[in-house]
């Protein structure tokens, strides 16, 4: 009865068009499992923001989602450039995105704050030149 559902995705950093496919797949799976729409929406948005970040800032990475009896656990790990100042990056409006990213509709500096808002718990670990790992939990009450 307590079998956790585990989903793994490789997020392609070369392909902006396919960015978000993992989040779409997670959304579909959660729908099939019958979660409330509000929970699904929070997971979807938080994960999509993180997935897009991995593509536009880090050259891709890996996404792991575990659906447990009490929470949905998301781990987004990349080997990109890392984040120099995490507190600064977490601020609304802070972005290092250039015009080419803005012209794709992203780069307002809202992603990380939005991930924090939609998750119940979020941790950002990052080392310059090594990569970034973001962990998010959404509790199922």
């Amino acid at each position: 009865m307590n079998d956790a559902v585990v989903l793994h995705f490789d997020v392609d950093g070369e392909n902006f068009t396919s960015a978000g496919e993992a989040s779409v797949q997670v959304k579909k799976t959660l729908r099939q499992m019958g979660f409330p729409p509000e929970v699904i929406r929070r997971v979807s948005i938080a994960m999509y923001e993180g997935e897009i970040n991995m593509v536009i800032h880090a050259g891709g990475g890996k996404a792991d989602v575990t659906v447990d009896s009490d929470k949905i656990h998301i781990v987004l790990a990349d080997k990109g450039p890392g984040i120099a100042d995490i507190d600064l990056a977490m601020q609304e409006g802070y972005s290092t995105a250039k015009d080419n990213i803005r012209s794709l509709g992203f780069g307002a500096g809202m992603g990380l704050p939005n991930m924090k808002r939609y998750s119940d718990h979020m941790e950002v670990e990052s080392a310059l030149g090594k990569g970034t790992t973001i962990t998010m939990d959404i509790y199922l009450s």
Partner: protein, 119 residues
């Protein structure tokens, strides 16, 4: 109003998911920045945008939106339309610009986006 009424008000063409034209929608938002849609939009069912790429569809899907209206005669690629069709999102295209398209829908009773905290 229904998505069909939106189509008529904007002289728009339907490019995907025609079977859902009779769905009822109650509010809309307009933006070319998907970042802002993800951060500020709450329960809007319709997205008007001048941005054309696959992330418009994915953003709409993540936000549980029902309809995307591409303004200024933007032509989405077959790939984008296929994504929308798969996600059950109606795609409309109008030659009107953002300001006029939003104004028409607003003055016809489609509510604006409620900007604010979701939680």
């Amino acid at each position: 109003m229904t998505i069909r009424e939106i189509m008529e008000l904007l002289d728009a063409k339907v490019l995907a998911c025609e079977e859902s034209l009779d769905h009822d929608v109650h509010s809309a938002c307009g933006s070319d920045m998907m970042s802002d849609v993800l951060a500020y939009v709450k329960d809007q069912a319709v997205l008007l945008t001048g941005l054309v790429n696959s992330q418009v569809v994915r953003t709409a899907e993540m936000m549980d939106m029902r309809c995307i209206v591409f303004v200024r005669s933007k032509q989405p690629t077959p790939e984008i339309l296929e994504l929308a069709q798969e996600s059950g999102i109606v795609v409309l295209a109008t030659s009107k610009r953002m300001y006029e398209a939003c104004g028409k829908l607003y003055s016809s009773g489609l509510k604006p986006e409620a900007v604010g905290d979701v939680q």
